[in-house]
Amino acid sequence: MTLLTLDFFFVAGGCVLAAVGGLIAADSAHPKRWGSAAFWLLLALAIGAGKWLSPTLVGYLVLGLTALIATKRVGAPQGRGGDPVVLKERAARLGNRLIWPLFLVPAVAVVGGLTLEWVKVGDFLLVQPKQVAQVALGLGCFAGITLAMRTTGEGPRVAVQEGGRLLQLLGWAVLLPQMLAALGGVMGKAGVGDEIAHLVAAVLPVQIPAVAVLAYCGGMALFTILLGNAFAAFPVMTLGVGLPFIVKAHGGDPAVMGTLGMLSGYCGTLVTPMAANFNLVPARLLELRDDFAVIKAQVPFAAAIWVFNVVVMYVCVFRR
């Protein structure tokens, strides 16, 4: 039994989304008023009450959300938040006080992450150990919004309205990380990973050490590009290619192989739209016209780091 669970924050997030949906429904100037309102209200239900609804119902809710997006019924109002001259005046008035709420969030999250585990109320733990990091971040956001409202003298309505402005910039992208996780889950259950590892091992001459290293690092990157997650690629590629061909056949050092293999996977993360929360969501959040702009900026990074990883692995993994 714990007093403060993650569910509390899901309900809070659901309330924010519902309020955003409500404000859109009340806004007769909104270009896609009803479709957008329906999208955010349904999402509020799925996020806020997801735990208590049947998974089947949530599945159909998700399909409904996707249908609203696919038929282009969801949009954001034009125009930006506020007149530049007014904003400059306000900024001059509040000065550095504007910045503190942003630092309060991680500060509370870090301190909470280190301490909440030990807090007990009577015989009850305050927070379940597994959820500490996420609960601490949630508390940080609450502290941040409280301080931000005090500093600016605005109420929750304006906070939701401004938050809604940013959420509508994100649009469908806000949903994508969760759907990619769902896709990864379905693929895992269907055994897609093993199939790919077999394919790599069957096609390439992995009995040559350099080819084994290349196949493993390349496979990590490629598989991460396809699934959008290096953590999902790691067990598959390491079981299918890394352990049998680098460690067992050629006596490679598993620590070197595993670490640099994971880092090679991250290079794949940098260049794939499947890692939406790192690559597509920020492009929208930063109001870039090209959804792939962040990926394009990261391609040279990814290529250079990948080559470095391969070289270091080849030089160091067989050294003993």
């Binding site: 998974p55 599945g59 401004e162 469908w172 990380p177 996780a181 870039l288």
Partner: protein, 234 residues
Amino acid sequence: MIKLIGLAVVAVGFAFRMNPLLVVVVAGLVTGLVAGLSWHEVVTMMGQFFVDNRWLTLPVILMVPVVGLLERHGLQERMATLIRRAAGATAGRVLWIYQILRGLTSMVGMGIGGHASMVRPLIVPMAEGATATKLGGVTDQARAQIRAHGAAAENVGNFFSDDIVVAVGAVLLIKAFFDNAGVEVPLGEIKLWGLPTALCVIAIGWWRYRRLDARLARAAAKPATEREVKGPKP
């Protein structure tokens, strides 16, 4: 082979620039169906995974009211003003320093940073402010480049210094995997072998952001008629 059809759906969908959400949902449905699940079962499974992964979306939802409210009161303008006082600041240097700081927090396993909580409200306004001061304005094109590299600085800083000092995520996952596979690997060695890449990434960042600065300067040096001059964006 038929199991890989979901990946084909994803590849084709992204190649034709179809809506990513639609692509991903269709790929999930197709993968489940060819694996022999019924329609009902696949939808249920997607719903269950959606609920299990709600924590991925939660930080963004709870963070946007804070950022939105502060932006409405001129946060981005404030950051631009602050950076204008720093002599020698350029977009590239701001991003490089952010990438290194982000790497240091990631090294001790702390998730300080983020696109919504740091890059949009603080880092991008600083980089754009520095460019406006140094080059006398920021064009739309320059802004797009700075922002894309700002997001890259966050990602690169976040990814490649993972857990080198305090193991939290990736290092523990690697350790757990090898334990399960019956291969003995000391935790300290896994952390240690992350270090070369972490240092290399700082060097690569230096090169990338210097190129960004050079490109911005070149574009700004063109005659004014060829470009659209604007002040810093609100």
